[in-house]
């Protein structure tokens, strides 16, 4: 039986967590993640979720607590945003290097300074090299569903890497939509219990977190990279199996929407994809062949799939909610990087939009896409929705 309800995004995520049944949850409150951990706290207080819930003294401690718990064999969960994720930075590398399948639900938010509590994706995108799998949810349903997929992929012995499931702060965390919520029994079928082969126990006293000299370190990074490659396959498999199980959700690592023979490819991630789709549809009605590539996961980066969907297009346009000052948008760089190895190298345009919570209305995207189509934009990276600026000292 499908349980379909109008719920807030954060509540849908908390519900998914409840059915997935982590053994240990540790978290620290930060806007806009708060509703997730508040709801989980409520489940714990009401006995609806039987887990150890640790109210950590910081995000740094929260993720460190999960390192200890995960190494002991527990299934673990935390959620954070922005500065909180940045504060976890050091531990993220540590958890990935120790191959601990921790899952974080990230409520994407801008980074300070200047202080800004609103949505963009600079927080998680800037953790791209930490060794974590990164999923980006387009809507609340997907934020809910991807959690189960994340655990399944992360805990797979072929992968054993941590995951973050990113959802746009406020836009998804604080919105209400009808969501098909997991039943506990159906999640059990999809996601088996976590029983690691190696874990901390006095019955077999293993050493975790050894020091690797230059003689070994390279090989550790090498096997981690290989595990990411395997993760790519596992994600694709898990998406299909999820779809068979629940009859919903994407079935491709890099889903494409719109006309297959479209000569413009627009790539984006998170909730922005929805708006891009609306615009592409409208432009399609106006006679422009625009297809949309959805960056469902940024790590592992689906380079092969990207080449495939870009095959035959004249222009690739990337809309992303992040920027690397001194360079360009990270997704744009990587999309271009993938296309360098393709025979067909389309023109490439990258736009940072929606930074710090700026709403990205359809008209903005439509204007930018049309400027690219008409050749009014230079190839390369641009701020898409920036106003004229005069710099001043005071």
């Amino acid at each position: 039986m499908i349980m379909r309800k109008v719920v807030e995004g954060s509540i849908a995520v908390a519900h998914a967590v409840r059915t997935i049944k982590p053994d240990v949850i540790a978290a620290y409150p930060i806007t806009p993640q708060t509703h997730i951990v508040e709801k989980i706290s409520e489940y714990i207080a009401n006995g609806e979720l039987n887990a150890e819930y640790v109210r950590a003294d910081s995000e740094f401690s929260a993720i460190s607590i999960l390192v200890g718990a995960s190494a002991t064999g527990a299934r673990t969960f935390t959620s954070t945003s922005s500065q909180g994720l940045a504060l976890m930075h050091e531990v993220l590398f540590n958890a990935a290097g120790m191959r601990l399948p921790i899952v974080i639900s990230v409520a994407n938010r801008a980074l300070s300074a200047p202080l800004n509590i609103w949505n963009d994706q600079q927080d998680s995108i800037s953790q791209r090299d930490s060794g974590w799998i990164q999923f980006y949810a387009e809507d609340i349903q997907e934020a809910h569903d991807l959690l189960a997929i994340a655990y399944r992929v992360s805990e797979d012995i072929e992968v054993r890497l941590p995951s973050m499931v990113c959802m746009d702060g406020f836009i998804l965390t604080h919105a209400y939509e009808p969501v098909e919520l997991f039943e506990e029994s159906e999640i059990r079928d999809f996601l088996p219990d976590y029983n690691p082969e190696v874990y901390l126990t006095t019955e077999n006293p293993l050493t975790f977190g050894a020091l690797a000299t230059p003689e070994y370190y390279t090989e550790f990074r090498y096997v981690q990279t290989r595990a990411m490659e395997r993760a790519e396959k596992k994600i694709a498999e898990s998406l299909k199996e999820f779809n068979e199980h629940f009859q919903r959700g994407e079935t491709d690592l890099l889903p494409v929407h719109g006309p297959e023979d479209g000569d413009v490819l627009v790539v984006s991630s998170g909730s922005l994809v929805s708006t891009v789709k609306e615009v592409a549809e409208k432009l399609g009605n106006d006679g422009f062949g625009v297809k949309v590539g959805k960056m469902l996961c940024f790590r592992p980066f689906p380079a092969d799939a990207m080449r495939k969907i870009a095959d035959g297009v004249d222009k690739v346009i990337v809309f992303e909610k992040d920027v690397s000052p001194g360079s360009e948008g990270a997704i744009f760089s990587e999309v271009k990087g993938a296309l360098y190895h393709s025979e067909n190298r389309p023109e490439a345009y990258g736009f940072a939009v929606g930074l710090g919570g700026r709403d990205v209305p359809e008209r903005v995207l439509e204007k930018l896409i049309m400027e690219c189509i008409r050749g009014e934009r230079k190839e390369g990276f641009h701020f898409g929705d920036v106003r004229p600026v005069r710099e001043a000292i005071l």
Binding site: G97, M98, E197, L206, F208, A210, E219
Partner: protein, 89 residues
């Protein structure tokens, strides 16, 4: 090139450092005068390696690991341990 084994997460089996024979570090080695020794166990307890034990009611030093720090001699209440220069090679 030789193949290296990289374990999942770098997990290591217990006690595997025993293959690292630190005895080569020492310049002076402790020698026990079993006549004087009263088996008080102070050297056993204070050895940082640890590489001193009682075998057949006699103190035995495992020179494979002894780094020659001299703590055993220093804590011996009856001066039964002497540090002697170890010629190598």
């Amino acid at each position: 090139m030789d193949e290296v084994v990289i374990t999942l997460g770098g997990v290591v089996k217990p006690g595997t450092a025993r293959k690292n024979k630190t005895g080569s570090w020492k310049v002076f080695k402790p020698v026990v005068d079993h006549e004087k020794c009263i088996l008080c166990m102070r050297c056993v307890n204070y050895c940082p390696e640890p590489c001193i034990s009682v075998v057949d009611e006699k103190i035995e030093m495992d020179y494979d690991y002894c780094k020659g720090c001299g703590i055993c001699g220093d804590v011996c209440p009856v001066d039964a341990i002497e540090m002697v220069y170890e010629t190598k090679g």
